[in-house]
Symmetry: C2
Subunit: 125 residues, 2 copies
Amino acid sequence: MDGLTIHEAAETTGWSPRMLRYIERVGLLAMRRSQSGYRLYGPEELQRLRTLRELLRSFDIGLAEIGFALRLRREPELGSAVEAWFETEARRPQDVPADEWLRWEQDKHQALLAATKPTPLEITT
Amino acid sequence: MDGLTIHEAAETTGWSPRMLRYIERVGLLAMRRSQSGYRLYGPEELQRLRTLRELLRSFDIGLAEIGFALRLRREPELGSAVEAWFETEARRPQDVPADEWLRWEQDKHQALLAATKPTPLEITT
DNA sequence: CAAACGTTGACACAGGTGTGGCAAGGTCGG
DNA sequence: CCGACCTTGCCACACCTGTGTCAACGTTTG
């Protein structure tokens, strides 16, 4: 049996066994299992767990935020849409002649809508 | 008085007045105010609010996630640290000779620690 | 085999999110 | 000036996050 058990892993990573299961439950880490279903923690997992802990602590964030960051990098449309929304903020109406920015705002919105609906009905039969 | 009042804005954006205040409270949008303190909504704000609504709806996310995305782009160290953590996952131990990846794991960790502590004691007197 | 440990599931509880509603008090428009 | 609307608090409530604990049941090991 290569790999530490959950209690051993808990001790060397600073998480509680409870939280190690929770981290897995929320989809951040999928642990290897023994044939009988026991979680097995190897050096890489241990290191990742320590790093994760430090990451959460030093920026005061939660597992949910890491989960969202994961979604951001896995769903490009989501990333683009969020970026688009922020970009809109960056550009202020003073930058453009009064009657231009309204159209520009509208265009931004169009772009975003396009991004949120990646393939509307393109089923490619 | 240029700009709609909160109830008018609510009607044209689909948010409730309650939520418009809440959105401001959590730091996503800082509304202009009239001299007496009334929130004023111009066309750009209205459009941004509609877009935001669509964004949350179509990806089923909350204001908190947008807030975190904002943090990600405002705090580069946070972004790097999260990226570093994900990168570690990308590289699997099969890719490297068994006794190399342990050192590599450790190096990754070092890099991350460096990122989380931008200027340890470098006060540049 | 019995003790120690693992697994999942449930109850619990504090704090955050997303809403609504109500109160007390200031503002605006006719 | 009065009614309609705005502002900020506070109460409320449901659901999610992060933890702990305990139960019921399977596994490993001395």
